[in-house]
Symmetry: C2
Subunit: 342 residues, 2 copies
């Protein structure tokens, strides 16, 4: 573990040059009556120590508190907690402490939190969200990185899961098992991830000569909706033995929906994956592992995402700000709901 | 919202009394050559401002950072996150910031975190745990309060859910619905809460002329174990129609176990609650609300618990340390798994 990077102060330069701090100030600002040799000695000492003689940068350096704010708007914590843990991990390695601030969807409370973090003079702020819906940027003078929920301002630094790649991996996996016809069941119709995952499924399927049968179904992020969706798919003939619209896999937009769907398929006497393969999303193990059978799903690698957010923030604090949205590549987790128990 | 409580310093007393700080020091320490009227004026000013003239207390006051450490050992966050949020809420109201430190069952990392919090000169530390198992106390000079997982040292300040009262409320509820014979299914056999909840169930049942049938069953905190336990209870005749050991309710030690049990009861053709009532514990809504039917359960009021921990810590920082374990009374949540859909 390396020592904390203490900012170089004017007194350090003064000590090395063997002069007073006010002499350092005069020497570096080219004012005051100094001997050339003194001025030179000070400049060499400043250079050796990496002292930044620009006033703004100097003030920024001096102000570092080695503390970062973690602003979260998630009370459930399912998605934002792993992000927070990943960020904390990366910060800890850099000897940075994390100040927690949880706003719980309350804009007044969020403003209060931001003021509090600013008054603590945090070096920067990581903003996490409970969904991947883009959110309005916060107003703070310190550098900010948005994790999981991106900022609506594309010039801000955001890091989000690459859902399109997650779905591409999933479709590729289904294709490798010989599936050709899939149905898609999304979550809430007003949320971006429902549609983004559908579009990615269609694109990936078309590229591989596969068919996404019928329209996407949207409902809510719940097991109940998963059960209902299976009833709808059955009613529309997609899960009817030897029907013309029969699919051989159902792609659900979350593990929670997939678990409900799997329960209903079993209750209807359909075997997973022998009669129809099922996939989820999130690898929320309370759902994906408890499902019968356990779900093939996509792990968004939220801890890695949080870690990247912290790295980006530390780079911004050091003066190397990133602008734009960075995507974190997820990982396919293959389990019995597609592989079977063989 | 009140202003942050700035510690009263010697210069404040000096300003009010119209004397120099060194005169204040001499007046309050009863040394130096001062006129009695001066000494009196300083003492009145000190009293008016609430200045504490004891050296140790003064130093403590001066050292306050209005920052508290939240040390968690839970990566899943299911139980500790609500505790953290409750604590944060109470701290925020007192204009105190929370430094997050998550140790994830790693003693080396925990030590590192504690050192980091201490080096940040936090006013105190709240330690939360992932279970209610007692944990070894941490070593820190600042005041510490243990939340959810109590300290093994009874002189430490701990705040934990009152599981015995939760089970008493549950048994009372079952009694009020006319149930007389219950079976108990616990979680992990090596964990305190499994046994404590059983003992409380037996005591409460006996007080009400009810019977806890057979031995307690222990397994794990999972849905799978809940399903398996129902198979065992059936095999032992407790869920067999008109059998001599027939029970009319099954008390499960967690929502997760109860959900698995409820699934298996349905799969075996038993109606909940018409044929047998079912209860859970935790009100973990992902389980309790998704269960079919939704579960009657106990809410441990973890946010309130976290809030109490923060209040106890702030009192300790102010010099009023609490010693011992405070219990937070939980709340019964009655739903269809005992009430039916009538």
């Amino acid at each position: 573990m390396s020592e904390p990077q203490r900012p170089v102060r004017i007194v350090d330069v003064a000590a090395l040059a063997g002069v007073s701090p006010s002499t350092v100030s005069k020497a570096l600002n080219n004012n005051g009556l100094l001997k050339d040799t003194t001025r030179e000695r000070v400049q060499q000492a400043a250079e050796k120590l990496g002292f930044v003689p620009d006033a703004a940068a100097r003030s920024l350096q001096a102000r570092r508190t080695y503390t970062v704010g973690l602003l979260s708007t998630d009370s459930a914590g399912r998605f934002s907690l792993p992000v927070v843990l990943g960020a904390e991990n990366a910060l800890l390695a850099g000897q940075i402490s994390a100040l927690l601030a949880t706003a719980r969807h309350d804009p007044v409370r969020e403003q209060h939190h931001i003021r509090s973090l600013v008054s603590r003079r945090v070096d920067g702020i990581i903003v996490t969200g409970r969904t991947t819906e883009p959110r309005a940027p916060i107003e703070a003078l310190a550098p900010v990185v948005y994790a999981f929920a991106p900022s609506t301002d594309p010039r801000d630094a955001s890091v989000v899961p690459d859902d399109a790649d997650g779905m591409r991996q999933m479709v590729e996996h289904l294709r490798s098992l010989g599936h050709r016809r899939v149905a898609y069941v999304g979550g809430r119709p007003d949320q971006r991830s429902s549609h983004l995952r559908y579009d990615a499924t269609v694109t990936a399927a078309q590229e591989r000569g596969m068919t996404v049968v019928g329209e996407p179904r949207y409902g809510e992020w719940s097991e109940r909706w998963g059960r209902h969706a299976v009833d709808m798919l059955t009613g529309d003939g997609l899960l009817v033995e030897d029907g013309p619209d029969r699919v051989d896999a159902v792609v659900f937009a979350s593990d929670q929906i997939a678990r409900g769907g799997t329960d209903r398929l079993r209750e209807r006497g359909m075997r997973v994956p022998e009669d129809v393969a099922v996939t989820g999303y999130d690898d929320w193990q309370v759902m994906s592992m408890a499902s019968r059978p356990p779900l093939t799903t996509v792990d968004m690698r939220l801890e890695t995402l949080g870690q990247r957010a912290a790295e980006m923030l530390l780079a911004a604090v050091a003066g190397e700000a990133f602008h734009g949205t960075e995507l974190v590549t997820p990982r396919l987790i293959a389990r019995e709901s597609t592989l079977g128990t063989s």
